[in-house]
Chain length 325, copies 2
């Protein structure tokens, strides 16, 4: 494969690059201006703006597979300016798809959001064909991109796979932008700080370890069946209180929780039905929550003690938010 | 009701105004700059741009119900510039929804597209909960607006009803912009001109008479149940060849068909399952195809013989296209 990773400086991109490094013929990563490129990776890193058509053309030229991990907003920030969310995520992706068609890219793997596209789930765990009533602009933008991908496949032959991710966590997760509840809580626990929880802590999420996520992405890039959209998650939900308790066990530290008002963009509980991915991608989550938390805690601890600039920036910027996406 | 009709100068808006006239306490219509306002109607007509925030605020002030019939593009034109389609239809609607919330509008009735949101139908007739894989940007934009409506209801209390219309036809339909196959074919038949058909004429559509459509809109505005999205169509599909044959019978004229290459944006066959509307809105189509064609033929004939400027403009501008939406 000759691969491009969009969003290579982000949490998922960083981990995906590490997985692909040495396994593929060409590996290029797009890092947005102002973000830090991942270190210790043999990929060709290009710093640029997703909206820069000429740069995007150069980026994908000669490549067959694109991993699209760019999300310009989060569920909470997207909600504050829906038009901006729509234009930054959806319109820019449309411009990029035209370039992929022109440059004869064969397949695009898109990181969609299993935590937001279904809205308040009609059933749990939620399968791919469940009703979709997103209550965030973020979820609507992801669904719109999914639909355009199918349209581009139908009309222009650009193949794709969509992975609707639950809540990934693990090394290299940032706590900025209200994304990473696990990394944020771990940092607080290890620093002896309290954590903020939106609502009463009964909100429950489907946490999936990042190595399992990027493994699914590679499988999606190589998949030959006719299914194209897969849930990727643990299949079970864990409440924020349970997560705190797990983290206390893993770290051996007590965490003080400060409860804040619930956020309107949070749904009560989510868990993804991942049987389609098991069947089609021969994928299933291999890392238990406690196992994943241990590895993540070790990484957070290293970043706190060694104070590497890259990682300190990733875990230290803002207070812990109650839930991620 | 104190009502606003967006798109009052269009085919559906024109007919809806005629239905509402005298039945509601306030009736305002928005007509886009350059369009002709419907005549003989007691509505207050406002000429303006949907993107003009101040004007939109004045338009909806004091009103409780908005009929949103604006579509800036068609399935074919939207396909040519998807980003433009997205921004003109979806972004503008988002701006408008904010104004509705601010001005305490109670309900919005949105004209969506039963012919495009489902894509190639997984079953016929197609129910509201069928899979949605639109193959046109037009269909994706309509679905995105539907999703934002649910989001605005959930977060901001703006209630709505969505009517997914099949292929409406009847008096006041324009043949410009590749919309109106029935009006176009009738005009050609009555003028002795040939008609152009995209594909081999086996493409089949669900034709619904406009009076039935606007009747459903009024019912949707008053509906109190929990269902909010309804298919509105005849429930059956009629091929373009059958339509030609019906028109020949109704007009007593022979129609010469010229066959052109099929368009990639056309799906093979569509028919909407309208049982939910029957149950919830106590609505069902009351006008047969032959009955509707007779009334439409009479209207087209009047416009051709009387040469009223309004109507001549509506039926005379371009050649007949093979299928509408």
């Amino acid at each position: 494969m000759r691969c491009v990773v969009l969003g290579a400086g982000g949490f998922i991109g960083n981990n995906l690059l590490r997985l692909l490094d040495g396994k593929v013929a060409v590996l290029r990563g797009l890092v947005r201006v102002g973000a830090r490129a991942p270190r210790s990776v043999g990929a060709e890193m290009i710093i640029g703006d997703f909206a820069d058509t000429e740069k995007m053309r150069d980026l994908v030229r000669g490549c067959d597979t694109v991993f699209h991990l760019i999300g310009a907003t989060t569920p909470a920030t997207g909600h504050q300016n829906m038009i901006d969310d729509l234009e930054r995520n959806v319109s820019q992706t449309l411009r990029f798809l035209d370039i992929c068609v022109e440059q004869k890219v064969e397949r695009l793997v898109f990181a969609s959001s299993g935590g937001t596209v279904y809205g308040i789930p009609e059933r749990l765990p939620t399968p791919e064909d469940a009703a979709k009533n997103p209550i965030t602009s973020y979820g609507i933008s992801k669904l719109a991109i999914e639909m355009y991908l199918e349209l581009y496949r139908y009309h222009f032959g650009l193949d794709y796979r969509v992975l609707r991710l639950s809540n990934p966590y693990g090394p290299h997760q940032t706590v900025r932008q209200e994304h990473g509840v696990v990394a944020a809580f771990l940092r607080s626990a290890l620093s002896g700080e309290s954590v903020e929880i939106w609502g009463d802590g009964t909100v429950a999420r489907d946490f999936i370890y990042i190595e399992d996520v990027v493994d699914a992405m590679l499988r999606a890039a190589l998949h030959t069946g006719s299914a194209r959209t897969f849930n990727i998650g643990s299949g079970t939900s864990v409440s924020i209180r349970e997560l705190v308790s797990e983290i206390e066990t893993v770290t051996g530290r007590h965490i003080e929780c400060v409860y804040r008002a619930a956020r309107p963009v949070d749904i009560g509980r989510s868990a993804l039905d991942v049987r389609l991915a098991a069947r089609e991608l021969q994928w299933s989550p291999r890392t238990s929550l406690s196992g994943g938390l241990e590895k993540t805690a070790a990484w957070v601890e290293r970043t706190l003690t060694q104070a590497e600039p890259e990682n300190r920036d990733r875990v230290g910027a803002v207070g812990a938010s109650g839930t991620g996406e």
